[in-house]
Amino acid sequence: MAIKKIAFVVDKLPYKGESSRLALTHCIASQTVEIHLEEDENVEPVLAFVGNGVLNCLRNQNAEAYGVSTMESHIKNALLTDIKVLICEEDVKRLGIAEENLIMDAEDFGADMTSQIVPFSEIMAEIESSVHLMYF
């Protein structure tokens, strides 16, 4: 059985461009990748927010004025589909973000998975153990 891990690393800010949004939609697309693969083959995504990219993970995003989906709903969807979500601890501290302001779970979506705030070294280890790396 061949499972290949792909690391999705987001270091871009949300909303001005669509880079971080595309990171989420491509990451979640791992749910359906099997249709293109042989039996027993699969892709295992891991999603990490680093640098200013951690600002994608703030709670209470309200996109009503613009009529688009929020990064918050995408991240919660990632948790709902059991994707490992990592948030860089050093950057959370640097930007003075309280954990209570971060999207740590998606209970309202019915997800069991929770986000993890981890040191950059742990994210680097995930990159190292991945077969491929997509840096958004």
Binding site: G17, L22, A29, V33, V43, H132
Partner: protein, 119 residues
């Protein structure tokens, strides 16, 4: 012979990032490598048929269709294209239209992945 998957994301017509991706693909093909190219986000602009040639823009359609004729695979994200108003009939004929999972599957089978993101 190895396989390279190039993901072209927020790159654009009028941005040399698209030129970079195309020239890199061409160089890899010349060296006998397999190449898959995925166009997503604004990168899907490359798939629009009928781009007129001006001296201020590099003209990539001929190079791309030649590369595809020679065995390279080019697929654009269907939803990203539709959102921009590029329907099936707007596409360069030999380019594919698939959903995002195709890119992940291409990466699954690739020896190297160059994911070109950026705004």
């Amino acid at each position: 012979m190895s396989k390279l998957t190039i993901g072209c994301f927020s790159s654009l017509v009028g941005s040399m990032t698209l030129d970079f991706a195309v020239k890199l693909a061409e160089a890899a093909r010349k060296k006998g490598h397999d190449v898959d190219m995925w166009l997503s986000g604004n990168g899907t602009m490359l798939a629009k048929k009928g781009q007129r040639s001006f001296k201020d823009y590099s003209s990539l359609e001929k190079t791309m269709t030649d590369l595809v004729a020679g065995g390279m695979t080019v697929v654009a994200c269907e939803a990203c294209a539709e959102a921009r108003g590029y329907h099936k009939e707007d596409f360069i004929d030999s380019f594919g239209r698939k959903s995002m999972d195709w890119y992940l599957a291409s990466c699954f089978g690739a020896d190297r992945v160059l994911h070109i993101g950026g705004e």
